[in-house]
């Protein structure tokens, strides 16, 4: 009886170690506690991301089609949006890590006060990716964008590859989607720097 109990305990321990090991290397835990994996839409189901032309902070006209051939994280945000501010450091990290692999973050600010509000903000937060000034016309092309942040992941052919993220998302969901489209290694529960990135680390509920 005692031997069988010990054997059962060892078996349970082994199963736990295996589960932990597989978690850090598989995509089953990319969303941290939720353990859900986003799946790319089949190519035939992907809709073209609506084309637009907007200006960046230097006044240069930028078209979405300028990014054809790259994976793009298109993020609608605003300086007054707290959840947006939580995501910006993630996007800065993604830009730094994956730019050389054909990835770019494009931020579209929906600030009514325009560059007067946006320029100091991006300087203060050392935003390392391109930010464009949005307007209602472009927002309408993307469904209205009444709530921020709203983020689209666009494939190299300029198509929306995943269900849009409306509201604060999980960093690992973004990572998983970007890595899927870039065809790079899936780091599972950890980001590229090896740090665990469950959303719970970033979001504390309002009292």
């Amino acid at each position: 009886m005692r031997v069988s109990k010990i054997a059962a305990a060892l078996l349970g321990l082994a199963a736990g170690v295996f589960a932990l090991s597989s978690c850090t290397h598989s995509s089953a835990c990319v969303s941290g506690q939720n353990e859900q994996k986003t799946t790319a839409k089949a190519a035939k189901d992907r809709k073209p991301a609506p084309e637009f032309t907007l200006t960046d902070a230097s006044g240069q006209y930028i078209k979405l089609s300028d990014y054809r051939g790259k994976v793009v994280l298109l993020n609608f945000w605003a300086t007054w949006c707290g959840p947006c501010a939580l995501e910006i450091p993630w996007f800065e990290q993604f830009e730094q890590q994956y730019k050389s692999k054909g990835f770019e973050v494009v931020g579209i600010s929906m600030d009514e006060d325009g560059w007067k509000a946006v320029k100091p903000y991006i300087a203060e937060h050392k935003v390392n990716y391109r930010v464009l000034l949005g307007n209602d016309s472009v927002a309408a092309l993307y469904g209205g964008v009444d709530s921020l942040p709203t983020t689209f992941i666009i494939d190299r052919e300029g198509r929306i590859a995943f269900t849009p993220h409306i509201g604060l998302a999980d960093k690992n969901e973004y990572l998983n989607e970007i890595q899927t489209l870039l065809g790079v290694e899936d780091r599972g529960c950890q980001d590229e720097s090896g740090h665990h990135t469950a959303a719970a680390l970033f979001l504390r509920p309002a009292k």
Partner: protein, 146 residues
Amino acid sequence: MSLVITLLPLFSFAQQNKLAVRPPTPLTIKRGTTAVENLTVEVLPGFHVNSDHPRDEYVIPLKLTWQDGPLATKSISFPKPEEIQVGNDRLLVFTGTFDIRSEFAAPAAAPPGPATMRGRLRYQACSNQMCFRPASIEITLPVIIE
């Protein structure tokens, strides 16, 4: 176009107002005196609006303005805000139901009878997960000058 149609249901909830102002009770005021009107504001459960004096310079404050009318606006005061934590930031916000106090003065020479004051409440609402673009509510305050 099909993308827009696909996305519309996702945004229909977002377009609803997250804040409402109860119809104000008519204000009776004697010429040459002052009177107070409390405007009752309701924020939907799960949402907050920024206070009138938020800590973060980028945040859009709650702001009530009254147009020039038969009464002079002497002061507008808000309740004490709540402090909540979003990420690393501690924000000053309003939630639930609260009153905004406006003090009006009726000039001694104001014509007696019914009149109207018109105001505008600008707000910017968020939940823990998302924020909504700034919006305004127009307010009509019935006034009786005696």
